[in-house]
């Protein structure tokens, strides 16, 4: 079960905060991707994913995070072939990006989720914040 709510906050730029509640796994990671696509289509360019109420992220859930990050970089995932080619190029960029250049960031993962992010290397690639205001202000 995954609930999603949205707040738009003003930092240096408008930041969409997507708050998740529940477990992010194989049964619902595609919902997260669709929501990220819809938000991007509506004009959102900076996404902060609030994980405070997420109790569990499975490996499929990581695909959800990864795809959402790509979407916020302007990549279209509709065509798997093209999506993957773009994804490779983007994932190299992601490594080089400085935190303030990232368009997709994570907020307050619980220790159990933080462990999954650390084990999978995601916490090296995606900026993680513990304080919401600091996170919102970090988008430029």
């Amino acid at each position: 079960m995954l609930n999603m709510t949205i707040d738009i906050l003003d930092g240096h730029v408008p930041v969409t905060v997507l708050r998740l509640e529940g477990e992010l796994d194989a049964s619902n990671y595609e919902q997260l991707i669709s929501r990220a696509e819809a938000l991007y289509a509506e004009g959102a360019r900076n996404l902060l994913l609030d994980l405070e109420k997420v109790d569990f992220v499975s490996s499929s859930g990581l695909i959800g995070l990864h795809s959402s990050a790509l979407i916020m970089r302007g990549e279209t995932l509709a065509d798997p072939e093209e999506g993957w080619a773009a994804f490779r190029a983007v994932s190299r960029d992601m490594l080089k990006s400085k935190s303030q250049e990232a368009h997709f960031k994570l907020l307050k993962p619980q220790p159990i989720v933080r462990k999954v992010l650390d084990t999978s290397g995601f916490s090296d690639i995606m900026p993680i914040y513990e304080d919401e205001q600091t996170a919102v202000d970090s988008f430029e």
Binding site: A26, F56, S58, S59, S60, L62, I63, H66, S67, L77, P80, E81, G83, W84, F87, R88, S91, R92, M94, L95, D118, T119, S120, G121, F122, D124, I125
Partner: protein, 385 residues
Amino acid sequence: MKKISLHGFGLFSDVEGRQEVAAGEVIFKPGDYADKMYLIIEGELRLTRGENEIDVMEAGELVGEMGMVENRPRNGTLTAVTDSVLLPIDRLQFAALVRQHPGFATRVMAIISARLSRRTESEVMRQSFQRELSIGRKMQRSLLPQKMPQIPGWDFAAYYDTAWQVGGDFYDFIPLDEEDSGPSQIWMVIADVTGKGVPAALYMAVARTLIRAETGKGKSPGQVLHRVNELILSDNRSPLFLSVLLAMLDVQTGAITYASAGHNPPLCYRRSTGEVEELPVHGYLLGAFAGVFFSEEHAFLEPGDTLILYTDGVSEARDEQGSFFGIERLKSAVAAAGECPVEQMVQALVTAVSEFTGAIPQADDMTIVAVQRAQAWTNLGDNAY
């Protein structure tokens, strides 16, 4: 296959009592008394048995006639897919229609016959799919080690089970032989492709081959993972991730060098203290990020120690309340079976998981691989004097 319809037959002007049903409404369920059949005037209905769909029927078709004619309770569930209009026809009305319109009986028989052959065809397809899948399962199993490595001083054990017919987990042992004197190193691989079923199984076969091809003398686990990651990213067509734990064991010294690509931390049972260590891991899921490097860690197995590798199907198995088996329960199970020979230890872990999950069906592939350093060598040394 063409469906035969009673539409335009013009027989039903004298049958009263059209019944409107809303989408989602259940018209009958197993055990209900079958006192009538239905002609579908408008809409679409679905007949299911358990979780299997038997048929979807639309306007002009009859449904429920078998139970009525054979005078037995319903054995399926009939649900309206769309808002529908039905005309119920009971036994007496049916008998009257057959008497008054000789062509009616023949048309009903044609409908039943067409439906039977349609259902038989889908059953044949289902069986053929099952056969293919079962061949796939055998082929996949043949990619796993057929027997445990035989190396003096070391005992190996493994458990592998898929949630579906085929799965995305795999494990492997790759011994590197010296020219004359048996293996000096053995590489242990455990991996988990994200997702389940056929796509994961196909990807598993590719990943296994890549890892085998890249492993060799003079390479280290971190180098192999880096190279495999680059190969996957250069040739991948679909967004699948793969977690791998790659451990290189020096069978002369007991030294282990390992690297993790987003995989669960291995556990190490220490015979001398009875404690279970969670070995540190840090590394990227394969297929996710290009250009990344994998750090290596080192551990050492003393005589009597056991190293346990596992996939998240073990730690993330759930009980009826939805709680995870978790790493702490796994560590306790390892500690409880720590003194057992390695094969029994692996079996004890599997039993602990299945006692925890109870009646909940296995949701993910589950793999455990363990290696135990024999104790006999030091005992022999002590007794030598």
